[in-house]
């Protein structure tokens, strides 16, 4: 029984129903998950042995100033009231004000999330474009030098500390060779051009500069993002290539492969079309998961590359007991995670007929 024939199975209408169901289910799951997320972050925020009032008033404050700040934060109310207010405000996108920046958390997140999104997307692109071919290569030539090489790269990508990899990458490619831009999203002079001349529609420098036709800014941003994206992408590449390899090996042992080969189908077509199509089903989940993991923002990568992203923001907030920012940031990450999971679920159903019933 050849799998690929099933793909033409269900009709147009059925497919639409599947998508519709997916969306309804998605919304319901999203609501429940987010409520759970709010509850968990809220409880953690309140039981932490860190006093958020102290982060605002600092070293010298008197007891009266302390009490005034505490009342202003609403920390005098009973816990249930605080939680109810929190959920109500969160529903309207109001996560309160960050203690550290004095800005609404939602505005802060809107500022830092595009940087993370841009980096994670390019990194995942690297992971997919390098990881899948590498996995296929390794699976079709098991035990050869190519296989060993891919497995070694995978091992390195998994186990190498990002901090070290990032600093070494910077030292060599930026410090010594000057092939890439340095830490930060742009050179200083381009930073000014971006601030002054480029309409900031999305917060993604690559997209904004491309839309405005500011190609010099685009090129500069590209040279800055390549290295952190590769470093971050190393992990997802390792993960994706390993998973591709094992999925491929599993499929290559199937009868339909033998049948295809016996029929005289060219080997490249067997591997890259028939087998890869079946492998793509579980791979979608793998890619979505690794993408979601990168969206949380990598604190270490962002620290080394002075990348003003979400990971750094949440970590800073955590160290300063800025709980409004921590909770707001966590909810955004959680929402992104749920969203990607749902997308991969829907894709999964579309790609794999067995999952549709």
């Amino acid at each position: 029984m050849a799998h690929q024939e099933d793909i033409t199975g269900p009709g147009h209408l059925e497919r639409a129903t599947v998508v519709g169901l997916g969306i309804a289910e998605f919304l319901a799951t999203l609501a429940i998950t987010l409520l759970g997320l709010l509850a968990v972050t809220f409880v953690i925020g309140r039981v932490m042995p860190i006093d958020p009032v102290l982060s605002i008033i600092g070293e010298r404050a008197t007891e009266a100033q302390y009490e005034a700040a505490k009342a202003a934060l609403g920390l005098d109310d009973p816990l249930w009231t605080q939680f109810a207010i929190y959920v109500r405000d969160a529903a309207t996108g109001d996560f309160g004000k960050s203690l550290l920046t004095g800005q609404p958390v939602i505005a802060d997140v809107a500022r830092v999330f595009p940087a993370t999104l841009e980096l994670a997307t390019i990194a995942t692109l690297f992971g997919v474009l390098l990881g899948i071919p590498a996995g296929v290569l390794a699976a079709t030539r098991p035990g050869t030098l190519a296989d060993q090489a891919v497995r070694l790269v995978g091992l390195v990508g998994y186990s190498m500390p990002v901090f070290w990899l990032g600093l070494m990458g910077l030292l060599v490619f930026y410090g010594k060779l000057s092939w890439v831009g340095g830490p930060g999203r742009l050179d200083t002079s381009y930073e000014f051009i971006y601030e002054l001349d480029v309409t900031q529609r999305t917060g993604s420098i690559l997209i904004d500069s491309a839309l405005s036709g500011a190609w010099d800014v685009f090129a500069n941003a590209l040279t800055h993002i390549v290295l952190p994206a590769l470093v971050l992408g190393a992990y997802s590449m390792a993960y994706i290539s390993r998973m591709t390899r094992s999925f491929m090996l599993e499929q290559l042992g199937q009868e339909y492969v033998t049948t295809a080969r016996v029929k005289g189908m060219p080997e490249w077509r067997v591997v890259w079309v028939h087998v890869l199509r079946n492998v793509s089903v579980p791979l979608v989940t793998v890619v979505a998961l690794s993408y979601a993991a990168l969206l949380e923002g990598s604190v270490l990568t962002e620290t080394v590359f002075a990348w003003p992203g979400l990971g750094l923001y949440i970590t800073n907030a955590l160290f300063s007991a800025d709980m409004a920012a921590v909770m707001g940031g966590t909810v955004v990450v959680g929402a992104a995670f749920v969203f990607l999971n749902m997308i991969s679920d829907v894709l999964y159903r579309l790609l794999d007929p067995r999952a549709r019933t």
């Binding site: 102290l54 302390y66 000057s178 080394v304």
Partner: protein, 533 residues
């Protein structure tokens, strides 16, 4: 079929990106812009009535002016700021300031005595953390309108509640909380009677050499020169300060010429760039003092022999010469060098036998206690060294490590035992440290003086209270200095505090940068005298 084509193209693209990088020639920083890498995630507010963090004060020092200033090129003597001249009346409590003629705010509004009075009143009324620098002269939200007022556009009169040492009052007026704010501009952004507080948290309304052009919290800020300011145009048109948390990254940026100044390099980085002809390192003594203290509520840490023994169980020089390596110097008194009355006596050095003898005299065989410390690199290394040398004398310290807010919370509640902490002066007058290290108005729990270090360590400061109170009223400068020297010597001997080190900021800059001042031990960074050749 088409999947294979797409994949082939993708592989080709990926390989192309990975293997065929183009070599770019990196430009230096723009000639009219100073690019600084620093850590700026401590900024809580850009309102001068509230800002009390290093990075925030660095920014505000360049955007706002005060009546009296410190010259960044010659820190020490007080120089005219927005006040041209000042005098003290015969009662020692009435101060009269003549305002500078022709000074303008960034908005174009003239700077008047009315703005000055309003700004100081505002800081007292808002009563944010740094307000005590002003309220210690007897101002309250209720009386401040009478005590601080403009008698005409060019004259400001301030009346204090006691005849304080004039230098004490003038020194306090140089601090950021006494910055003069553009009243009309701030009030045009007022909401719910907040005196412009919400708006000023992230915007500026000053008269300084630079105006705030943009501010992205924990990311960067840009200052833009105001060429029409009363100081004249600063040499550089823009200052761009970037938050770069990782010192190794700051170093790479500096070595590659993508920044002009790196302010948070570690001693290891400093050693690494030594010998690079393009980079210069300037050491500046800053005001921060690391100290060790013993909570007097805890037995037997309140035993005078134990206190003395502890001071002999610290390897002061060993730490300074090893991991601190140039970032701190040994300093055993509570006033930083360069302050009025500062001393450099160093009566203590590591002496395990002497310490053991003292503990024996006290009839103590060994002590088990917790050492509270914040989780940053320097402090943990100091704490580990303390742990090591204390153990040699029979004092076994268990490290209790936490975030800043966590440790501060315990400290304010007097729950700590041993604590290793840092203290930075708030204004360039000896009272700033004497008031907290050597004075305790009421040691009871009900006293609740959570802002005062002596109280936090439950030390009644009986031996130094009166002297410290008297020193702020001493009119004669030399006598006043002598009083602080005496207070410190007593403090060194009997207090449960062991000052350890004074901070050195090692500012690394490109060789063409001139005139940058980080502010020494008494002020904040000044960019307005900085230039690039």
């Amino acid at each position: 079929m088409h999947i294979s084509k797409t994949l082939t193209a993708a592989v080709a693209l990926a390989l192309g990106l990975a293997a065929g990088p183009v070599t770019f020639a990196w430009a230096e920083t723009p000639a009219d812009t100073l690019v600084v890498a620093d850590k700026i995630d401590d900024i809580v507010s850009l309102d001068p009535a509230e800002s009390f963090e290093f990075s925030g004060n660095d920014l505000l020092n360049n955007v706002y002016d005060s009546l009296i200033e410190l010259d960044p090129t010659d820190l020490g003597p007080l120089v005219p700021g927005l006040a041209e001249s000042w005098e003290v009346g015969p009662d020692g409590m009435t101060y009269t300031f003549k305002m500078r003629q022709g000074a303008k705010f960034h908005s174009g509004n003239p700077v008047t005595a009315e703005d000055a009075a309003w700004s100081l009143q505002r800081a007292v009324i808002l009563d944010k953390t740094p307000a005590f620098i002003l309220t210690q002269f007897g101002f309250t939200p209720d009386n401040v309108a009478d005590k601080i007022k403009a008698t005409d556009d060019g004259t400001l009169v301030i009346v204090t509640d006691k005849p304080y040492a004039p230098t004490f009052f003038f020194n306090c007026l140089t601090s950021i909380v006494a910055s003069i704010v553009d009243r009309k501009e701030a009030l045009s952004h007022e909401a719910n009677g907040d005196l412009g507080y919400e708006w000023l948290k992230t915007n500026s309304a000053g008269s300084g050499a630079y105006r705030l052009r943009s501010y992205k919290p924990s990311d960067s800020y840009v200052l833009e020169a105001v060429p029409t300011g009363w100081r004249g145009a600063p040499p550089l048109a823009r200052v761009f300060v970037r938050h770069v948390a990782e010192p190794a990254t700051q170093r790479l940026l500096l070595e590659n010429g993508d920044i002009d100044i790196a302010r948070k390099l570690t001693p290891v980085d400093i050693a690494g760039i030594a010998g690079n002809p393009d980079i210069r390192v300037v050491d500046e003594q800053r005001g921060r003092i690391f100290y060790l203290a013993l909570n007097q509520k805890v037995e037997p840490l309140n035993n005078p022999k134990v206190i003395e023994a502890v001071k002999y169980l610290v390897d002061y020089q060993g730490m300074a010469d090893s991991f601190l390596n140039g970032s701190n110097v040994v300093h055993q008194s509570f006033l930083p060098a360069d302050f009025l009355g500062a001393i450099d006596d160093q009566p203590y050095a590591l002496d395990v036998d002497k310490a053991k003898g003292l503990l024996k005299e006290a009839g103590i065989d060994h002590i088990d206690a917790k050492l509270y410390v914040r989780n940053d690199q320097d402090r943990l290394e100091i704490a580990q060294s303390l742990q090591n040398t204390m153990a040699q004398g029979g004092i076994n310290l268990e490290l209790r490590v936490g975030t800043g807010a966590e440790i501060l919370g315990e400290y304010r509640a007097r729950n700590q035992e041993f604590i290793m902490e840092a203290w930075g002066p708030d204004y360039p007058d000896p009272n700033t440290n004497a008031d907290t290290f050597a004075r305790n108005p009421d040691n009871s729990d009900e006293g609740n003086h959570t802002g005062i270090l002596a109280w936090r360590n439950a030390w009644p400061a009986t031996e130094t209270n009166d002297l410290t109170n008297a020193a702020v009223l001493e009119q004669d400068g030399d006598k006043r200095a002598a009083m602080y020297q005496e207070i410190q010597r007593i403090h060194q001997r009997v207090s449960p505090f062991a000052p350890l080190f004074q901070q050195i900021e090692q500012v690394a800059m490109r060789a063409n940068v001139e005139g940058f001042s980080a502010g020494g031990s008494i002020s904040s960074a000044a960019f307005y005298a900085t230039s690039k050749k």
